[in-house]
């Protein structure tokens, strides 16, 4: 790929060294994928297959894990099940073959919806506030700007549990405990620091001459911001949004301490999925797979901006 430009350079690595490097990296990549592949495989196993000794690599795939993830079931006598008539769905059939009937929907889907609402809500807010603040820091002389920026960053250094204690008390007073709004505000505050730092970097790269030209043409500063700067910053804003989204999507510590029911997100819920006699690993694996797939897609979309995002814009490549 990029070897074209350095093909004749004396520092081009030799063919053998490339081959050795490639094989080590590929071996590492394969090893690192094993736990993830195992999650996906387990999600298609039946509960007995999932806990077989030794672990099964070849097995009869089934959707039982996914069925169990989305339903709650009760045990019934074979006579009762025989009297029910035709099963209405694949899941119904699988459940009946275990001498159980579907009793209702599980909490997974509501928890997943909470994750969606809270992650997207807080991302939208954090990126909006962050864009304004980043523009302010990038274009205006703000007294103590360096200190303010450092202060914004340092809010990230607090251990989440340390922040959670007073937030817990504050939310109890304000009636925000276990509400989506409370979680959205909290995640927005955490993400704003990332958004300001990243977006300031992106906006710094847009030449100010563009806005100045627009303002000479009669735009106000606000119009110039919306019509000139925002369109130029789209890539940066999109990348920032995905980083905020991933944080809010993956967050566990605040979620487990501050939500218990109505606003609980998926990360604290997934570990609590249990079947008869212990953790229902295929259902946990199914829940994990569904939860993780959106992030995989984002990682691939983001790969060029990844470095910048994870270092708060400190490394830009």
């Amino acid at each position: 790929m990029s070897s074209v430009s350095t093909a004749h350079s004396v520092v081009e690595p030799s063919r053998t060294s490339k081959r050795i490097a490639a094989s080590i990296v590929i071996i590492y990549a394969v090893i690192t994928m094993i736990p993830l592949l195992w999650i996906v495989l387990t999600s298609f196993k039946s509960p007995p297959d999932s806990i077989s000794y030794p672990p099964k690599i070849v097995f009869q795939p089934t959707l039982e894990g996914y069925c169990n993830l989305f339903t709650t079931r009760t045990r019934q006598t074979p006579d009762y099940i025989a009297s029910l008539g035709e099963p209405t769905s694949t899941c119904d059939e699988i459940t009946r073959s275990r001498n159980m009937v579907i009793a209702g929907a599980s909490n997974y889907w509501p928890r997943f919806q909470n994750s969606l609402v809270i992650a997207f809500g807080s991302t939208f807010l954090a990126v909006s506030l962050g864009t304004f603040a980043a523009y302010g820091f990038s274009r205006f002389k703000i007294p103590l700007a360096e200190d303010l920026l450092f202060f914004i960053l340092s809010t990230r250094m607090m251990p989440p549990i340390a922040v959670a204690i007073p937030i817990y008390l504050m939310y109890r007073q304000l009636g925000l405990s276990d509400t989506a709004l409370g979680m959205i505000l909290l995640y927005t505050a955490v993400n704003v620091s990332l958004a300001v730092w990243l977006l300031k970097g992106f906006i710094d790269e847009i030449p100010r001459e563009y806005e100045e030209a627009a303002m000479i043409d009669g735009y106000t500063r606000m119009q110039a911001f919306f019509k000139v700067v925002l369109p130029q910053a789209t890539t940066g804003i999109a990348a920032t949004a995905i980083f905020c989204l991933i944080f809010a999507w993956n967050e566990y510590a605040f979620a487990v301490l501050l939500t218990s029911g109505a606003a609980q997100t998926a990360p604290p819920f997934i570990p609590t999925i249990i079947g008869e006699g212990g953790q229902d690993w295929p259902a946990v694996a199914a829940g994990t797979t569904i939860f993780v797939v959106p992030i995989l897609v984002f990682t691939i979309l983001l790969r060029k901006q990844l470095l910048r995002g994870i270092t708060f814009g400190a490394v830009r490549k």
Binding site: A21, M33, G136, I165, L186, Q279, V292, K317
Partner: protein, 319 residues
């Protein structure tokens, strides 16, 4: 920074332009504009980060217990702090955290830098494999960490079987999560699996920032590859490596989610890192005042260490 102050430029343009345009350019003065832009973000941070922090500082001087909000509040001075600092459990937790932070950083830096060095050989398909390697760090430590509990099961778990396959030790002869000796390593392995790509990515940026002509010059001088590595590659990538260590150090010092789900601090308290002790104090023993004192001590420790480290980093950068 290239700071052609927009204030003066705006004013200069405004003065030069005919009156109607000038007023349109000014609209709001730049000073009020600036505050309009940054105030919402700062206000939110004050309300959700700083106000609670100040509250926590206040609570750390009281005997407040969140499960008895109506009990009389007493000012206990510094006694919460002295109790936390004199409690052997605190130092036990600090030691556990230090062990965890030290080994994760050491392993991640070694493996991450080596991988970056190999990827920088630019073999065919390196971009694809880099993306594959990056996947674990994007996933939820809680959700994926939870699954490692399954991988570590002594009878049925994949991890024990792979170790058994490679070494011949029977898979049910050791328990990664149940044994006092192995459980600290169980969390180090998962963290290293998850975050090595992070260090790798930053190191890769460091290696790519070294201009080719330096190596060309070294080649002309007939410096050996070994020599090139120690006197060009490593020193020039060092600020990047140090940056990666800073970010990982801060993150792992406050590690909570992955460890909670894997071991919950156990067995006993062998993997009880500081955040877990803090959570137990605050949300299980409900000693809110004392937990707040501990939280402040932790925050000051992270903040202080990070500041010292950044100073060192800047020195290395300036060299």
């Amino acid at each position: 920074m290239t700071d052609t102050s927009s204030t003066s430029l705006g004013e200069a343009v405004a003065r030069a332009a005919p009156a109607p345009i000038a007023s349109r350019i000014r609209g709001l003065s730049d000073r009020s504009m600036a505050w309009l832009f940054i105030t919402p973000a700062i206000a939110l941070l004050l309300a959700v980060n700083i106000f609670p922090l100040i509250w926590a500082i206040y609570l750390s001087f009281t005997n407040f217990r969140a499960n008895r909000p109506n009990a009389a509040l007493e000012n206990v001075g510094l006694s919460n702090y002295s109790r936390v600092l004199n409690d052997p459990n605190t130092w036990q937790a600090m030691q556990t955290t230090a062990h965890f932070v030290f080994w994760t950083i050491l392993l991640q830096t070694l493996i991450g830098f080596s991988l970056a060095y190999l990827i920088d050989r630019k073999f065919r398909g390196h971009a694809f494999w880099t993306t594959i390697i990056l996947v674990p760090m994007m996933l939820s430590p809680a959700v994926v960490g939870n699954f490692w509990r399954f991988l570590y099961q002594p009878q049925i778990g994949l991890f024990n079987h792979i170790v058994s396959f490679l070494t011949g030790i029977p898979p049910s002869s050791f328990e990664m999560l149940g044994s006092v000796r192995l459980s600290p390593w169980a969390i180090i392995i998962v963290d290293t699996w998850m975050w090595t790509p992070y260090v790798m990515l930053i190191c890769l940026a460091g290696l790519r920032s070294i201009p080719d002509y330096i190596y060309e010059a070294a080649e002309v001088d007939r410096a050996s590859l070994w020599r090139q590595f120690w006197s060009i590659t490593l020193p020039m990538a060092l600020p990047f490596i140090m940056l990666a260590i800073l970010f990982r150090g801060i993150e792992n010092f406050k590690m909570f989610d992955m460890v909670t789900l894997l071991t919950g601090g156990g067995p006993g308290s062998t993997t009880e890192v500081a955040s877990i002790t803090l959570k137990r104090e605050a949300f299980e023993s409900w000693r809110t005042g004392r937990a707040s004192a501990f939280a402040i001590i932790l925050f000051v420790a992270v903040f202080g260490l990070a500041n010292i480290y950044v100073k060192a980093l800047n020195k290395v950068k300036q060299r």
